[in-house]
Symmetry: C2
Subunit: 198 residues, 2 copies
């Protein structure tokens, strides 16, 4: 039953395709948008179109950027001999927020997942291999700590090691502020295995 | 720290102004939009602009519509002598989904709330009073079952009763503090059936 007029129904429908937005949230968003000023709607709508039109992959690290090369790859102060491999741009942003990493990145845009039909050729691995022909000292694999991330990490390790380049992976363990009794067994075991001298 | 390029940052910023969308969700949505096809982005963006431009209040019941009169008010099969007063268009949609109501609606676009500085003149009450000059037999008040909804219901009752028109309110089948749009159809139907004179 179509209780809204066609244009509202269309807007609700379009919004409900976005991830994490169900039918109810889409309705709520649609009516919020109807209550916004015309300039605000134009701003939101324009930002989408502009981003979609101008944002592309960085020619070096494959992150999203609106230039040829992203600001991190273009920065001569960063250590271009250390490359951290992440699954997506949000993970890159998470590490940038630590302010403790001065190397560069490589964004795979995915992880190997036989279950989901994602193979090595479906993520940005060949672009990584091209970069490794330059002077690179270390590849830090920072894929997620799950089945897909582990598979991807192992795959990368097997590709990179024969080139004589050091490959490391970010540590697995108890998160900062974590309460031991609430941490799962696998994490506790990994934290024990990865213990370091004090 | 600006880890994304300007146009992504702008898109994330615009999205995070939407209700229920925090910084993380806005990032997630932004990257989803970047991964959509250009046609899909144009569709979403166009739907917003079109809805904002063309959707207005129905001249009769004040709901959102893209014509002069909404489909419900224009339908001669509906009983125009019974008017259900709701707070917003989502509540109207919720009652329409029951399929058990054949009267028409009046959408207030809010509820009286002294705390939030919303008075009787800030909601569509005068438009309701104009409609009551025609041949109306009953006004069913279906505002939310909370402080604002109760206040609004009492106010409407005091306005309408002197006109010799029956005023009723949907029954307390709707739980206290409940928001109409989230209630199941059966409860809504029972609440309608059990309405009592005010």
């Amino acid at each position: 039953m179509d209780v809204y007029s066609a244009q509202i129904t269309n807007l609700v429908e379009q919004l409900s395709h976005l991830p994490g937005i169900g039918a109810k949230s889409a309705q709520r968003l649609a009516f919020h948008i109807l209550n916004m000023s015309e300039e605000q709607v134009a701003g939101l709508s324009g930002a989408m179109m502009a981003a979609k039109k101008n944002v592309r992959y960085c020619k070096e690290c494959c992150t999203y950027t609106d230039g040829e090369i992203c600001p991190i790859c273009a920065n001569p102060k960063r250590n271009h001999k250390v490359i951290m491999v992440v699954e997506n741009t949000r993970d890159l942003a998470a590490y940038e927020k630590t302010g403790k990493y001065d190397g560069v990145y490589h964004v795979l845009h995915g992880a190997i997942s036989p279950m989901a039909g994602v193979g090595p050729n479906d993520i940005r691995l060949s672009e990584l291999m091209v970069r490794l022909q330059q002077d690179v000292e270390e590849v830090i694999v920072a894929t997620n700590k799950n089945l897909e991330g582990d598979t991807t990490a192992t795959y990368i390790s097997k590709l990179v090691k024969p080139l004589g380049i050091k490959v490391s992976r970010i540590a697995s363990g108890v998160p900062a502020g974590g309460d031991l009794e609430y941490i799962d067994e696998v994490t506790l075991y990994r934290a024990l295995e990865g213990r370091r001298d004090m």
